[in-house]
Every structure is written in structure tokens, then in C-alpha cells.
Symmetry: C2
Subunit: 514 residues, 2 copies
């Protein structure tokens, strides 16, 4: 058995059955092994940031890692931005990065690059396999690293000769270590804070603490203590809609965030980090909470929150309390497109169990209040701030859900141009993804930020901020990649197209002129 | 004066007057400075690999560095593959990478990444500016590093507060050190080899040694000594056509390369590296030259070749000899598209002074023999092997030529999908670029390489190698980005569209079904 065969069999044995791929010459023996050994669903992306973004979206929904297949240092480099986002989203991914044969590397052939150095910038675990006999074990370690709660990036660099040499040994899956436990003293301390200062306390959630089971406990804590509850701005994945809390996130804007957090004397972090600005601004602090606020860590991001939350509920003797009904669904909006109208229409029409991939950037800041009463759904955010993950995450999420759930991609146009090749994979795999491109023909967020400089953008600045010359036609772009598409200029048209798309199995793109 | 203003003024003083950009929030003060200080041509790319690839193409034609404007570590990451290619092409580029404010970095906000670590993987020079008062001098050093012969990647990391803080000082341009000289003993040694074993010697050229002035000297050396002459496979930029040598490159394929080089006892490297395989293959050597061959370094890549070549001509007393006429231009081909037919048609129709950006991959291996008799032109290759530079390099080359020369982009479809956003910039800047997408709906090079594994690709392998499901319509993709386009299925149609495109100023795309 060659190394590549041992690799594929080890991955399958560990439950990794989906491979997002863009192969090259040095991976041909791995591709052949994937071809010859049944069981791996191989999904081609036409640029590597699509590949890695799909792996992120897949993990968020399937809750188990897929592998990627990337070609040498430059192929990895192309996928780094979405690995950065996946790292911030705490998604588990096993990158398999093909590379020069070990003995060929010193010759510095053209594609030779610092693959290890590139991988280290985003990975919790990096290893270059050097012998076919070790490759199975190396792969088992990679899967274990990727599966560590709540998910990590593991990068296994695979020199071509390690793939093709004989002597491969299939490795059994390795047990994933349990997340670090939460000490009873921590529970006692947080319980005391909630008892004594509940009305001045904020419970700030992220990670698994914004999933529905945790929300049921957090709601009881809030009811018993009077504490407020928010999700971290960078939370990558909220479970929302009917039966879930009407959670808001800490606002993106620095001033709004500071204002929101000003009244809290205690901030209890449940999988969340202390809230800081996305960027620094002249004369503004880096942190968004008052200097006087006390921070209490109930769980770090790498600690499982359910046990701690249950212990806190017990310590507070928080009574049973059901999350209240969010009321009737909103009606679909009419008239000219507005952020509120779009949010209401999405809430009105989205099917039960839908997944929203939200890279709406400036247009989507206010979507939440109008979508609390939607059917139960998962809402995915850009956690790392590197634009270009909305479309790949939507694509991977659809695969992670076994094509059984409708994915709605609320997608700003500037970010959409970063990884538009996703649409081709959606067509190839016939995925149930409805993309709504919010076409305002500009980097609107930056025009807002520019004003913070204290000036109005002139001709040269607009040359770098405006996307309207030439205007981009998303209907043509989608059509060029085999995705049916149509333009909407009113909410009625948008709603009609959404309904039609939700009723058919494959992908569809709505270009909403805003 | 704030730091950003001192940066822009320093760049302009050093002759850097073109900025390929994709900005973000942390660069807004830099964008404002570019807006307020006249003189910089700012060119937006809708993904960073387009931005960096444009800077590469610009340098190859303008022979002076442009700057890039990239947003934080992830923005740099998106552009790394084409910086890898630019490094291999030995192009000079000044990257300006905006980043978190120095004091905000420890807070690990979402976009925070190992910007320095990422930059080091491709750069000869990396520096993070830390004070506004130093930024001008830092920029002058970056331009000097980028300008070092034959060109280098210099990356200046610009924290937001260094941009906005007052105290900026404009720096004067720094003198660029002369390239290391070639010792007389080296000249004598190579002259002796050519005298004694000319018929068994190969002069292997790359870099400036494949430009027309060097060719005039090399031709005399070859005539006087009987030595053969080839260009390195990885040569990024050949000057070709009427008045230039009918140079071939060392073949890409390992077996063909070994066969080509087998007869040489001496290989004289002029800016070239010892020829090695692009990849390793089982049972094949890494090097392409015979074990018995002697390698002689006339000039390293970072040494200027003209002085050494002239000294060698003098040492050999090589008589004056004009490069012979390449004969009449071929006629445009007719009938079904073939590689030879396309090459002949390009040679027949290309205007004097055209620039060819060639990322034709497997289809273009045999273009050279049929294009020697074309009008004088520049032919640009993918030097680093990371696909996705053909379109951005074409775009940047057109800007580097002041929009005064026709650029012909011979572009494989798989690679084209990597950086198709280039077309939008071509439309925005109204660049004279004619793109010929060679649509075979597959990663054809990989299907060839797969056969080397000793198997025929099955369904799963083809799922990763075939681009035909769904088929990509390049006419729609181009139209979606404002570039006029048409499909050709015969060489007559292709020739007609080429003629029409060459006669009008802006971009055009021909989708050639091959």
C-alpha cells in the first residue's frame, strides 16, 4: 500500500468523508487513491479560497471536519484568508497540502515555497510527513487536532514521494481529548456576581453558548438574575428564530458598542473574548467595555459551555423558564429594497431549518431585530473579517447539511467578487443555495469609514471605493457559471424570486439592486 | 504632516507613481493621502491576487516598481500566490500592507494575523513601520530594496496609527546599489570553455539575458563558438520576433528536457539557474542535465548580464554578426483550432510591440516555433507556477506600457478562473487587452499528469479534474464585468475577432473552444 492509500483509508476510518479539493501535479497519487478507494465525497473548488471556505461552512453545520486538498505553498496561500476566517470561527479543518518530494525541495523548483511557514500563520497543528510508513499516523493526529473542541485548523503537508512510496500503514482514529473542565470555584464566583449584581451584569456568549441548548440555560440565568445577554460581535454561528432567544450581538461600530456596554459593571464571558474594536480609531480606546467593568471568564472558547451553564443554573437555583414565543412571523415587505424590508422578507419566507450565510457587511447591520420571529434557523457570520467567505461558507454549509436544508446567502457585492467561483461548485453539486447579492456598486463600508478620516472622498479615493464603473452584472456572472439568476429592484420581485427558488432543489441567485 | 502624507510624497519622489490597490478600514488615512496629493495613478483590483499580479506585469514592462495597497494579513494572504510568481519572475514591487494600530495589535481583534510572517514567505525585504517620523525613510528603503537589480519584493507593513499620526517626514530617494560585478577570472574561464568545447556547450539564458540587447551579444558568442543557446524554462519575459533570436526554452516535460540537455558537457548559466524538474517523478532524477555536465556561472540572477556578455564577446574576439531574419510572417490559420494554428494566427496578426501574457499551460507548449517570425514583441510567462497570473499580469502590463501597446493574453480556462476579476479592471481602465481564453473545460495538464500515475482517472478523479459540468461561459463572465466578448469555434472566427479587437482601444475577450 502506498502512502496515499493509507492516508485516504485513515481519513475515512476517522469519519472524514468529504474532501474539498483543488489538486495539482504533486497530489496526483493522492487523487488516484481518492479515486480508487470508495467513500470520499470530493468537491472541486475553482480557487482555493473557495475550497477552504467550503470546509469552514461544512464544519459549522456538520460539526465534524472535512479535509481539503491544496496544491503546494501557493495553493495554500490562495486559501489562507478563509482559513483565517475559519480559525476565528473555530472550525475544525484537516488541510492536506501537497508539496515537492522531500528530496526535490532543495532544488528550489519554481513552485517551492515556505509551505510550513504559510501553514503556521493559521493552524493550531502543522506537520510535514516525511515517510510513507508514518503518514497514516500523521493523518490520525491531524484529525484529532482538528476535532479538538470547538474545532481547530490542522495542516498536514504531504510531499509527493511520501504519497507515492510503498509502506503505508492505516491508522486507527485517535481519541479526542475532552475540553478542559470548569472549576467549581469559577462557578461559585460567577454565581455570586449574578446574585449580587445581576442587573448590572452582562452575559456575553460565543461559540457553542449561542446554540439552542445553551440558550435554554442562559435564558433561565437571565430570568433568575436580571442579567442582560448578548452575543459577541464575532460569534460565527447563532441558532435563532422560533424557540430561541431574541439575542442581539454587540454592535460593530465602536461608538455604538461602547454605548451598549457602558452600563455593565460585570461582564461574564461564556466562550466569548473581552469585547474590543474591530479596528483602532484616533482618540478612541481599544476596548469597548468600561474601564471599571469586571470581567469574569465562565468558559474560555476551548471549554465546553453546557456543563458550566447547567452548574450555574443549579447554583442559582434558577427556576424553569421557557424562552418566550417571538410572536408571529413578519410579512414580506413591499416597495423599494431597504435593509429592514429585506430582513422581514427573509424572516417571512425562510423555510424551517434554513441556514443563513451572512456576508451582508454594511447593509446587514440591522437584520437581527426583524428576523427573531422567523422559523428556527442557523445564522452564520464572517468571524475573521477577511471578506470573501459568505459564498464559500454557504456552499460548504449546504454540503454539510447533506443538501437537505435551504441555504440563504445574504451577500454584499464587493465581498462576493472575492470568491464568486463558489457559484460554479453550487451548480456542479446542485446545492440548495439561494444567493441574494446586495448590489450597491461600491465598498459602502469603506465610504463610511473614509468619512471618519474627516474628509469626503475625492476622485482618486472613489477610484478605489466605487464598483460602479463598469457596473457588475451578477445575472451574467451567475449564468456564466451555470447558476440561474434574475435581477430584482423591488421587494415584491425579490420575494417572488425567493419563493420560487425555495421551491426548487438547485442554486439560484437574486441580484437585488439596493 | 501625518505619516500617510509623508509616505505618498516619498513614493512619488522615488518615482513610484502607480498604486494597485484594494483598501480596507485600516488604510483609510493612506487612501485619503493618495486622494489629496496629486500624482499617483490608483488602480483598483477586486481581489488581491489581481492587485499583486498587476504589479508584477507592470514591473516587467515599465521596469520600475509600482506599489500595492493591501488590507491587513488576510489581504496580503490573498495576494501571496502572485507575489510568489513575481518573486520567481524577479519583479520589483513595493507592497504597502495596512495593519492594526501598533497599540491595538495585542487585543487580537478579528483581522489580526501574522502579517510579518506572511510577508516574509515572499519578500526580500520586510519592515513594520512603528513611528510616523520614520515612515518616509522606511518607504525610501522599501523602494530601494524593490529596485535592486533585477527586482525584488519589498513589503512595508503600515500600522494604522503610523499612518494617521502627525510628524511625518518626506524622505529623498535612496541610491540603488549597483549589482555585484562579474570577476575577470569568471570571464576568462567561460571564454576558455567556449573556445575549447563550444560545440558541446549550452548557453542558458534568463532574466535580462533574454532581452534584445543581450541576445545581440549572445548570438555573436554562439556564432563564434558553436555553442547552443536556450532560455530557461522559468524565464519570465523574452523579447522575441523580428530582429531577435529564435530562442527556444528548455522543455517543461522532464523526459523532453533531459533529452534536450543530454548532449551538453558544459552549461553556461547567464542569469539562469541549473535546470531542474518542475516536480519530482518516481524513478526520475531531480536535475535535467547529465551528471557529467559542468556548470559555469557567468552571471547569477542578481548580476547584470550585459557587461559580462560584452567582456566575453571581447575575450573571444567574436566577430560582428547580425541575428538573421526570421523570414516572412506566417499566415493566419484556418479550420478547427489547434495549438499550431493559434500560434500562427497570433504571429500573423499581432501588432508591432505587442505584449503576450502567456498562461496557456498545456495548450501552449509548442507556440514558440510558430511565432519567431512575428513582429517584435515581448512574451511574458508564468515564472512561479502558481496558476492565476496570466490575466493580472496582462492587465498590469497594459498599464506599465501606458496603454500604448496591445496586450494579448493567451489564457487557459482553469487558470483564468483563479483571477477572472482582472477583466473588471481592464474594463474600468479601458486597457488594450485582448484575452483569448482556451476553453477545453478541464484541467488538461493534470489529466496528463494523472496518466503518469499509471491509471486512467475514474469518476471521482474526474470530479476534481473536469470543468465541464457545468460548462463555463466566458462570454457571459466577461459581459458581467463590462468586457465585450465573443465565442470562436474556428480559427477564421478567432482571427476575425482578433483583428477587430486589435483595431479598437479597449479590452475584448475571445472564448476559443478547443
Amino acid at each position: 500500500m502506498n502512502g496515499a492509500h493509507s492516508l485516504v483509508k485513515t481519513l475515512l476510518a476517522a469519519g472524514v468523508d468529504t474532501c474539498f479539493a483543488n489538486p495539482g501535479t504533486s497530489e496526483m497519487h493522492f487523487v488516484a487513491a481518492l479515486d480508487q478507494i470508495p467513500g470520499m465525497h470530493c468537491v472541486l473548488g475553482l480557487q482555493e479560497n473557495v475550497v477552504t471556505g467550503m470546509a469552514d461552512g461544512y464544519y459549522r453545520i456538520a460539526r465534524k471536519p472535512a479535509c481539503t486538498l491544496l496544491h503546494c505553498g501557493p495553493g495554500l496561500a490562495n486559501g489562507l484568508a478563509n482559513l483565517h476566517n475559519a480559525r476565528r470561527a473555530r472550525s475544525g479543518i484537516v488541510n492536506i497540502v501537497g508539496d515537492q518530494a522531500t528530496y526535490h525541495r532543495p532544488f528550489d523548483a519554481p513552485l517551492t515555497a515556505d509551505t510550513d511557514g504559510l501553514a503556521r500563520t493559521v493552524s493550531a497543528w502543522v506537520h510535514t510527513s516525511t515517510h510513507s510508513a508514518d503518514l497514516g499516523q500523521d493523518a490520525a493526529m491531524a484529525v484529532r487536532a482538528a476535532s479538538a473542541f470547538p474545532g481547530q485548523i490542522a495542516s498536514l503537508i504531504l510531499p509527493a514521494n511520501v504519497s507515492w512510496d510503498e509502506g503505508g500503514v492505516v491508522a486507527q482514529p485517535l481519541p479526542v481529548p475532552a475540553p478542559p473542565a470548569v472549576d467549581g470555584q469559577v462557578i461559585d464566583g460567577v454565581a455570586r456576581v449574578l446574585r449580587q449584581a445581576g442587573g448590572k451584569a452582562l452575559i456575553l456568549l460565543s461559540g457553542a453558548a449561542v446554540f439552542a441548548p445553551a440558550q435554554a440555560l442562559v435564558w433561565r440565568l437571565a430570568q433568575a438574575s436580571g442579567a442582560a445577554v448578548l452575543a459577541e460581535y464575532g460569534a460565527s454561528h447563532l441558532q435563532r428564530g422560533q424557540g430561541r432567544m431574541a439575542l442581539e450581538r454587540v454592535p460593530y461600530g465602536m461608538e455604538a458598542a461602547i454605548k451598549t456596554l457602558a452600563r455593565f459593571e460585570h461582564i461574564i464571558l461564556v466562550g466569548a473574548k473581552p469585547p474590543v474594536g474591530f479596528f483602532a480609531y484616533p482618540g478612541m480606546p481599544s476596548t469597548q467595555y468600561p474601564d471599571s467593568a469586571q470581567l469574569h471568564v465562565l468558559t474560555r472558547p476551548e471549554q465546553e459551555p453546557m456543563t458550566a451553564l447547567q452548574a450555574l443554573v443549579d447554583a442559582l437555583q434558577a427556576p424553569q423558564a421557557a424562552i418566550p414565543d417571538a410572536g408571529p412571523r413578519p410579512e414580506a415587505a413591499t416597495g423599494a429594497p431597504t435593509p429592514e424590508g429585506l430582513a422581514r422578507t427573509v424572516a417571512a419566507l425562510m423555510p424551517e431549518g434554513a441556514i443563513v450565510s451572512d456576508e451582508s457587511i454594511s447593509y446587514g447591520r440591522g437584520f437581527y431585530p426583524h428576523t427573531h420571529a422567523a422559523a428556527a434557523h442557523d445564522w452564520l457570520h464572517l468571524a475573521g473579517g477577511a471578506i470573501g467567505d459568505g459564498m464559500p461558507v454557504a456552499t460548504g454549509a449546504a454540503i454539510g447539511a447533506g443538501k437537505q436544508r435551504r441555504v440563504i446567502n445574504l451577500q454584499a457585492d464587493g465581498s462576493a467578487m472575492y470568491s464568486l467561483q463558489s457559484l460554479w461548485t453550487q451548480a456542479r453539486e446542485q446545492l440548495p443555495v439561494t444567493t441574494i447579492v446586495l448590489n450597491n456598486s461600491r465598498y459602502n463600508i469603506l465610504i463610511g469609514e473614509y468619512k471618519g478620516v474627516g474628509a469626503t472622498p475625492g476622485a482618486t479615493a472613489m477610484q478605489m471605493l466605487d464598483l460602479g464603473n463598469p457596473s457588475i452584472c451578477w445575472v451574467k456572472l451567475a449564468g456564466g457559471m451555470g447558476v440561474e439568476a434574475a435581477r430584482a429592484t423591488s421587494m415584491e420581485e425579490c420575494a417572488r424570486l425567493m419563493r420560487a427558488s425555495f421551491a426548487q432543489p438547485g442554486p439560484f441567485l437574486i441580484e437585488l439592486i439596493i
